[in-house]
């Protein structure tokens, strides 16, 4: 066991090594150090606080037990993010199988938990309501994306990781991350910006729907009339 003050001074890598050597507190210090950011990633990737909590717990168990499999060629935090994101993606896929839940019933709570932090200490009520509404819309739109696109956008656009880092986290090529982000943003633009009042972001679709047909008044095309008896 190590002095707590000494624990907090140790690097991620040192803490992981200490955990492997049997230090019973090292992993807790390591995980707590990154917990809030891992929570943020889990929350936005899973889209629901309960699923995020489940995924984070699952990731904790997995990382704790398999710390020995950490290759050491990436940062510890990247590896932790990878474990968390994979737990989230597993959970999303399992949920998809379980039931096609369009959106959680408690979207208000979903939007609010873990997301109330803001740089404005006391926004005006109307501004706060508008911001909350906008955030809810963004999260709902995000939830419609395929999970790989969602994870890429959460890590790159929300959390600010570089494409290279995200490629490591998602275990794919940087080009794949860029492509997932591009497709995801395009879809979000269509969902979020198309119907903004007073704005028209895109040209109307080229293949416009045909106008509804007008009922014919031509008696020749009317149903045959029964002859009078």
């Amino acid at each position: 066991m190590t002095d707590p003050a000494q624990q907090t001074e140790r690097s991620d890598r040192e803490l992981l090594a200490a955990h492997l050597e049997g230090d019973s507190e090292a992993f807790g210090v390591l995980f707590a150090r990154h917990r809030d950011r891992l929570w943020a990633v889990a929350l936005r990737t899973c889209g629901h606080p309960e699923d995020a909590a489940d995924a984070l717990q699952e990731a904790l168990i997995s990382a704790f037990r398999r710390a020995g499999s950490f290759r050491g060629d990436a940062q510890v935090t990247t590896w932790l993010h990878r474990v968390v994101v994979n737990a989230c993606l597993d959970r999303i896929r399992a949920n998809k199988v379980r039931a096609a839940e369009a959106l959680p019933d408690d979207l208000e709570e979903w939007a609010g938990r873990g997301s109330l932090g803001t740089t404005d200490p006391e926004p005006r009520p109307d501004e706060a309501a508008e911001a909350a509404e906008r955030r809810t819309a963004v999260l709902a739109a995000l939830g419609t994306l395929p999970e790989e696109q969602r994870a890429a956008l959460v890590l790159v656009d929300m959390e600010g990781y570089s494409v290279a880092e995200v490629a490591e986290i998602l275990d794919c090529a940087p080009g794949t991350v860029k492509s997932r982000c591009a497709r995801g943003r395009a879809r979000l633009a269509a969902l979020l910006l198309e119907h903004r009042p007073g704005e028209r972001r895109h040209a109307p679709p080229r293949n416009q729907a045909p106008a509804p047909s007008v009922p014919s008044m031509d008696p020749a095309r009317a149903p045959p009339v029964e002859p009078a008896p």
Binding site: Q57, N86, D90, A94, R98, L188
Partner: protein, 240 residues
Amino acid sequence: MPDQPSDDDLAEVRRLLRAARAEGPAPDDVVARLDETLATLVAERSPAEPVDELVARRAKRRRVIAGAGLVAAATVVAAGFLGQLVGSGDEADRASDDRPALSLDEQEAGQAEASTPGDAGMDKGTPLREAPAASEYAARSDKPLNRDERRAVRYTLERLTTGHTPQTDLLGSLSTVAFCPAGVADDAVVVPIQVAGSLQALLLRPLESDGSRKVEVVDCSVDPPVTTDSVTVPPSPSRK
């Protein structure tokens, strides 16, 4: 095909995403849950912990069951758990080492590939200090309970603690590892509980088509395990 969004549109999307990021700390209940899980994991690593005693007891019982006769084995074959019950134990260990956990839902969905995205962050080496008993029961004990399952547990515990029943405690999923032969819980999620000091298990059977779920209370300390109670959990209101 619709027009591609403009650069301004994409910049606006990125701004909206950035504004919608989760900035607060992890909620207290989540932190508490993680701390509890971590404490259990640490306890599992310690040879003096009670979990290991349970593991040893369970291993002993498994040997007894394996030699008990072909009737039990035939039942298990039908349930698809022969390898887990009468195998050496190592096979089951290896199977479950391939991934951290496999939920019942995933099994039902036929997603039990040896390699899954969940392993992407791990090298395929021998995990360090894997809890010795996690192998046989990983499929149903390591995975956190989902919402429906938690609701079923709450509902059942409320029923069990109503009236005269002595104190019932939920022990947490990780300590499940020492309970209940696989053949008893073949299609169930197992949740350990303590009823009046006696270790028992809730077997959460799969959801019925109407959304209800049968939960059995099983005393796994005897051979064969005995079902001491049974509760039918009504469908979740949100499913209606």
